[in-house]
Symmetry: C2
Subunit: 154 residues, 2 copies
DNA sequence: TTTAAAATGAAAATGGTTTTCATTATTATA
DNA sequence: TATAATAATGAAAACCATTTTCATTTTAAA
């Protein structure tokens, strides 16, 4: 967006949070993947880069990033939290989810998102006023059965 | 909706799942609340009605209800799953969420929902076709800071 | 009834996540 | 620079929501 340094640096500044090697590595890992990584997924990737990083730090970093709204934490129902970099709604990487309740497959979709964003934007304006909320982002997920799981339900 | 018995009975039939006292109690507890109950919340309420019901059964029942799409499981980030009866999108009880990322307060809103549902409906049609998905329901949540938590972020 | 399948409770195990605590690194200040 | 104050870290232990095990009971079917 701006010239100097990655976009998330200014969020660190705003929150008076130090930019450390470990934190940089975690953000980069999330930046480079399009998967929904769990804490231990991230730990393993980080460990490959810098073996002295502990799992505890991964958890702590993720919690921090979540609080700063740099990262969104998800529960897709498989027993461990998963994390995604949080892009601006309307921004390039922003997407919504299509989740199969049977096999837990997740499709990230961006189709049709313009109309959705437009409509959600109006909703957001309405809600922020009515409830005096500062809304930063949103989450939209559709649940159902994927191609493979249809016809043999339960 | 129909005359004979609660609406969820036919879902049990469809899935060949027995209607037991414990299961009936759990559904009723969820039906009578407008809160987001955790498994142990439900356990305590159930226990007050029928003390022999075990926590294990509560968990098992909730999982079953989730699979049958009678109940939606949520992770609001406080370390335990929370459960809501799943009403038809567009139906009376259907709502979306407004979540404060700081104090974790959750507002269930129904305002503006007609426009949203309308737009989401179009999206849903588009997605089911494109990805050959049978979409049953959806989840919409806005994240931000509530009235009280603004101005003192982090 | 009788039998097979499903549901249940109590206790134990699991495993993702958090805490604790001693150590190290970073920033601010003199 | 030194130096002090604060923040970040790793390893191990603790935590605690959720699952599994297993013996028993309940339910539906024949």
């Amino acid at each position: 967006m701006h010239g100097r340094g990655p976009w998330w640096r200014e969020k660190f500044d705003q929150h008076c949070v130090r930019i450390t090697a470990a934190r940089e590595i975690v953000v980069n890992i999330l930046h480079e993947t399009d998967e929904h990584l769990s804490a231990s997924d991230i730990y393993m990737k980080a460990h490959a880069i810098s073996p002295e990083i502990g799992l505890t730090t991964i958890y702590r970093t993720l919690e921090l990033l979540e609080q700063m709204r740099i990262v969104q934490k998800f529960d897709f129902g498989d027993g461990q939290a998963r994390f995604e970099l949080l892009n601006n709604p309307g921004g390039k990487g922003h997407h919504h989810h299509l989740i199969c309740v049977k096999c837990k497959k997740i499709i990230d979709y961006k189709d049709f998102i313009d109309e959705e964003i437009n409509c959600l934007g109006k909703t957001q304006d309405f809600l922020s006023q009515k409830y005096n909320f500062q809304i930063n982002d949103h989450l939209v997920s559709f649940y159902g059965l994927c191609e493979n799981c249809r016809g043999g339900e339960r």
